[in-house]
């Protein structure tokens, strides 16, 4: 689908506004939820942000794998805390790899 720059800007705007809604509702709900759900929601938001980057063609080589690992971490929360923590640690390793690719500002 061929869309112009204005439409893309509007789409990104809407996606980000929706993400803000999600974050605010999550913050409210987390007051009454399991402590594991705090990190879970943060990981879900990370997943949603990577989706927005991908949709806009702003992805980078490590992003698809990173997205897949985020999905695995989200799924693992129901397996228990140990599994979730292990998957979060794996995500931190991804982050370290991503950071290693940054040579200087704006060069990812």
């Amino acid at each position: 689908m061929n869309i112009n720059k204005d439409q893309r800007t509007k789409q990104i705007f809407q996606q980000l506004i929706e993400l803000i809604c999600y974050i605010i509702v999550s913050a409210r709900n987390l007051l009454q939820e399991s402590k594991l759900y705090g990190p879970l929601r943060m990981i879900e938001v990370a997943g949603k942000l990577t989706d927005i980057l991908s949709c806009e063609g702003l992805d980078f080589p490590l992003l698809p794998v990173f997205r897949e690992h985020i999905e695995t971490a989200i799924d693992s929360v129901v397996e228990g805390e140990a599994s979730f923590v292990a998957n979060l640690d794996s995500l931190v390793s991804d982050v370290i790899s991503i950071l290693a690719n940054i040579q200087k500002e704006g060069t990812l």
Binding site: C21, V25, R28, N29, Y37, R41, E44, D75, E79
Partner: protein, 171 residues
């Protein structure tokens, strides 16, 4: 399917295929299973909103952090709390309404599993926001959201704790 196979085979599905579920099946989940759950004092004060409209689904997802996997349909299990109070006294809205809604949810999920559908029950949503999105009157309160669709991924069966039962006096 044997009843125990249905009970033990049901998993909470958090990733769905985009295929829609036909309306007759969704209606049957409520009318052939949900409303056949026990209801305290036979109050039947439950109400069921079946949501298939993509825009509504999207809006509900935004206020329901526990709702995962882009399901093509939702059954929002509500209670008419005024009716629950009328039938059950103060215990009605405080406790019985929740218990009834939960039992209806289980019936719906078991029947869905028998039909080859996946489900997941969630309580992680903002009640007021959901009421506003669905245009529910103040007296109709959502208690559970059950996602419904064809599973894309079925999680492995979690180990069940067995040391949860005793006979007679507490041991």
């Amino acid at each position: 399917m044997e009843i125990l196979n249905i009970i033990q085979g049901r998993r909470s599905i958090r990733r769905y295929r985009p295929d829609s579920v036909n309306l007759e099946q969704l209606q049957a989940l409520v009318l052939e299973a949900g409303i056949w759950a026990p209801s305290a004092g036979n109050s039947q004060s439950w109400r069921f909103a079946v949501v298939t409209d993509p825009l509504l689904l999207h809006k509900i997802e935004l206020v329901s952090p526990g709702l995962l996997g882009s399901p093509p349909a939702l059954i929002v299990i509500c209670q008419n709390l005024e009716e629950a109070k009328l039938k059950g006294g103060s215990l009605g809205p405080q406790f019985l309404a929740i218990a009834d809604a939960a039992m209806a949810a289980q019936n719906i999920m078991l029947y869905a599993h028998a039909l080859g559908l996946g489900t997941c029950v969630i309580a992680s949503f903002h009640r007021g926001a959901l009421q506003a999105i669905l245009g529910l009157p103040h007296s109709i309160t959502p208690f559970f959201v059950v996602s419904v669709g064809y599973p894309e991924f079925t999680p492995k069966t979690p180990i069940r704790k067995k040391d949860v039962i005793w006979f007679n006096e507490y041991k």
